[in-house]
Symmetry: C2
Subunit: 583 residues, 2 copies
Amino acid sequence: MSKIVRINMNKLSSEWENVPKNYVHLGGRGITSAIVANEVDPLAEPLGPKNKFVAAPGFITGTTAPSTGRLSVGGKSPLTGTIKEANAGGLSAQKLARLGIKALIIEGFPEGDDWYNIYLTKGRCELVKANEFVNMGLYDLINRLWKKYPNKPGIFGCGIAGQQLMFSAGIFGNNPDNSDPGRYAARGGLGAVLGSKRIIAIITDDTDCARPKPKNPELFEIGRKKLVKGLLKHEAREALRDYGTEGLMNVMNESGGLPTRNWRKGSFEGAGKISGEAIRELVDKTKEKFPKSQARTGWPCNPGCVIGCANKVPYPLNHKKAGAIQVSTLEYETAMALGSLCEIDSLYHLAELNRICNDLGLDTIEAGNTLAVAMEAGVLEFGDGAGAIKLLNKVKTKDPVGRLLGLGALRFGQAYGVTHVGHAKGQSLPAFDPRPLKGIGVTYVTSPQGGDHTEGYTIFSEIEGVNPVDPRDKAKGDLSRFYQVFTAFIDSIGYCLFTAYALLEDPLAKEGMLETVRAMLGVEEFDLETYGMAILEIENDFNKRAGFSELDNRLPDFFYTEPLPPTNEVFDVPDSEIKKVFK
Amino acid sequence: MSKIVRINMNKLSSEWENVPKNYVHLGGRGITSAIVANEVDPLAEPLGPKNKFVAAPGFITGTTAPSTGRLSVGGKSPLTGTIKEANAGGLSAQKLARLGIKALIIEGFPEGDDWYNIYLTKGRCELVKANEFVNMGLYDLINRLWKKYPNKPGIFGCGIAGQQLMFSAGIFGNNPDNSDPGRYAARGGLGAVLGSKRIIAIITDDTDCARPKPKNPELFEIGRKKLVKGLLKHEAREALRDYGTEGLMNVMNESGGLPTRNWRKGSFEGAGKISGEAIRELVDKTKEKFPKSQARTGWPCNPGCVIGCANKVPYPLNHKKAGAIQVSTLEYETAMALGSLCEIDSLYHLAELNRICNDLGLDTIEAGNTLAVAMEAGVLEFGDGAGAIKLLNKVKTKDPVGRLLGLGALRFGQAYGVTHVGHAKGQSLPAFDPRPLKGIGVTYVTSPQGGDHTEGYTIFSEIEGVNPVDPRDKAKGDLSRFYQVFTAFIDSIGYCLFTAYALLEDPLAKEGMLETVRAMLGVEEFDLETYGMAILEIENDFNKRAGFSELDNRLPDFFYTEPLPPTNEVFDVPDSEIKKVFK
């Protein structure tokens, strides 16, 4: 039977608790949000002792189901003040699941000044002093921990940004080969919540542990096969393997919805130079010149993923480190935030900015928006990649501008008198301008988690040609709710969001996935919508108790008034449509 | 008939509008709040074009009624997000009233990069380009404007802080003799609202204008005399003339409610050295040595004030500028924030910090709280007055720490990972710790305007021995509401809050004041409570539409959990008491 591991930092104790009945069918986001909603005072200071940090593998994670290695982390967000969940791939989720850990709850503050790591092995949870790892770059950290601990452990935690309680701090995870601290549950400043508890890294070793067992192994195997077949044959897989999420750069640029120059333009001249195609070309040429180079696309971010959208981006061919890997994985969101939003068109500068974020433990979306606001404020010029690198490196120094950069775009803007900041509930917006792409705008404003595309990714329908199950769901409010419900389900079960391509278009793939879920649960009936909506209701209820209301469901003024070239759209979704999402 | 002057910065136009019927009986805070509530979208970005800046003299200001030279300024606060009014003495209110200006509304943004002053003379409103005054210290500014414009005009506006859109920016006014930009409607960042409209100063010249006329001059004169008599004979007047508000320093220190060392202590060893008594001693010795020195206490901050709580603090006797004035007026709130809260016990350093704030256009309460948080963060040491001066001077440089300092204590704390920040709704708390002084704590959390003692100054009852009219009003909720209602009335009519000493204890003085009000209005009946509560309701309704609810009516966690030495009290007012204030 799986357990909840509760670590009390005040007592420096850990307990293995039985899983309460009402949590048994939950996993991932479902259980992190339920625990936060049930155990955290919604009015608590997010970086105070009353907040909790919760980590959980997906419900189905650790089994043989494909593309399920997702780790959810949750807490009350210092950035938004709302409930927050963020998830990522990597090694840790599957290992947690196999360790029989349904959720890890970290609560309280330690009394002294010591820092700690958590070391999880079969049936054991150790708090290990970690003072030697404070203020260490994460590349260095993961390499030292892989040397210190046997069996190629999963590692997740916070970097300098989280240790310094910066609101842009994400939770890193190591890549499956430990090459890079590049798996990020990046959003909402949850790295600072972990840092506030004086924890740096959580190390997971599942040696001698078995996979979680479905209640109905036969049905599970039937469903799994259908799903794998659907995933393998869907055309999106090919594009994701070739270009990863970065395949969207040119597509979004063409659509006029690529956030550019701090949300003042919807297309970027330099998009091609920082696109998935450009990365692919660099990878191909690097492999030609350095056949042993690790450079690649089509790489799985967690063992057992049959999609493989991750990449390893090499240094430029004319760089002294040519052939070596500069960063992994360079995602579209990152290329938007640190690229087009700052009008930086050098793939090298972009990859370096990404690497610095990964090393410091910063959310790239928040960091890129913050740099763009710094450019808007005249601190540096738009397009100045070298200057941006220099500035971002100040996050690890005592320079106050580093503190401000770590605080995120909204507050950086406040410090410099800049109101032109793209955010929702204080969280910087990701790579889809809500003026031409109004459905994602509805998600930004209504999601319980602040501005976040992954919370209800309407782009599947708005740009990528995927039809939702019910083709009548075309109104923006219905569209956003459809994807928000779907995502809450996906994020809780532990499947990767990119399984959606097949699920939404291939009835057999969907049937297969639901069979794996029913088989795990041992139930005859399972309703995805009810399950997803229940999680959203838990989250919305927390936010309501934290003081949020429909009045908070809006974007900054300029999105309603400044037309975005080249489409010249404004965000004009009627209030009635916003209100109907969670009526 | 008085008018509303509406200045549209987008059109660079001004209109003299008739006063709508429902505003006729309003003045000061009553009319600024009514205009903001009626004309500003509660969801507007405070520093965006949809916010408005409103200025208004009190309803009775400009007449011969004593101690009524109060200027109210209002808008949506960038610091708190709530509706905001702040008021101060000086020259401008009476001149506005005599110019027949019931309220000045400044709306919209100008299109270009020019800065403007507003020059108001009889029947005229001129927008004058003011680019040469940008980034100018306010001592310099007021002197230049008094040279440029005839007839010793009233001047109010924003300094460097407001021009740079800092959330700590207040609205300065010149002293009656133009010696100092030391009259401050300091709170809530309204200086930034004015700065966002690219206005620096508003110059008022009431040459050839008559006083506003009471509807019933005989009754007015009867009431005025009763009130003057009450004010002159009340014992508080003597103390205020000798020590000003700074007379509270030693009193509060004795009570254990003097905020010290960033809200970690309730008393300060060095209190005596920065007290009203210390100022008085310096003034006396300076006058002895330099008989022509302007040093003094007991000075009226506006013509016709019979109380005279203002001071002119000279440089120390061993300073090369001994005999000259270092700052005016050094208030208790300032001495707390820049003194005890930072454990700075040098009167010279304190006065210099005050002078810098006055020169830059910063709210001293917010600035002092921010410096205390900087000390908490280790940026400098507690007690380091010279370091604090050096740091505060960075506000006018391009150094990012200056930007952060101007942003206020809450956000400075966020940047440095400090959650121990004394604020309510984002506004730094003033000079009364709410743990031993629970009534003022109720005001801090329930006032429509964020943490502000002047919004419901329960200290009259909690410390100073003044009994409210109804001695049953002893529960903290009732006490706070009593003073909030009373203050809303006082701030609208234009009487100084310090008339309260007489009003609350001397029935004849109160009768006289109400007679002056009835005489101005020309009515037989006037109910103070109804009038005051109506204004609070307007403000609370705006905040509700801006997204605030009862859940926002709280202090940071530490006030509930950390006992304050020496009383070892926590803020333990039950929720029911908080909720009943505006039930």
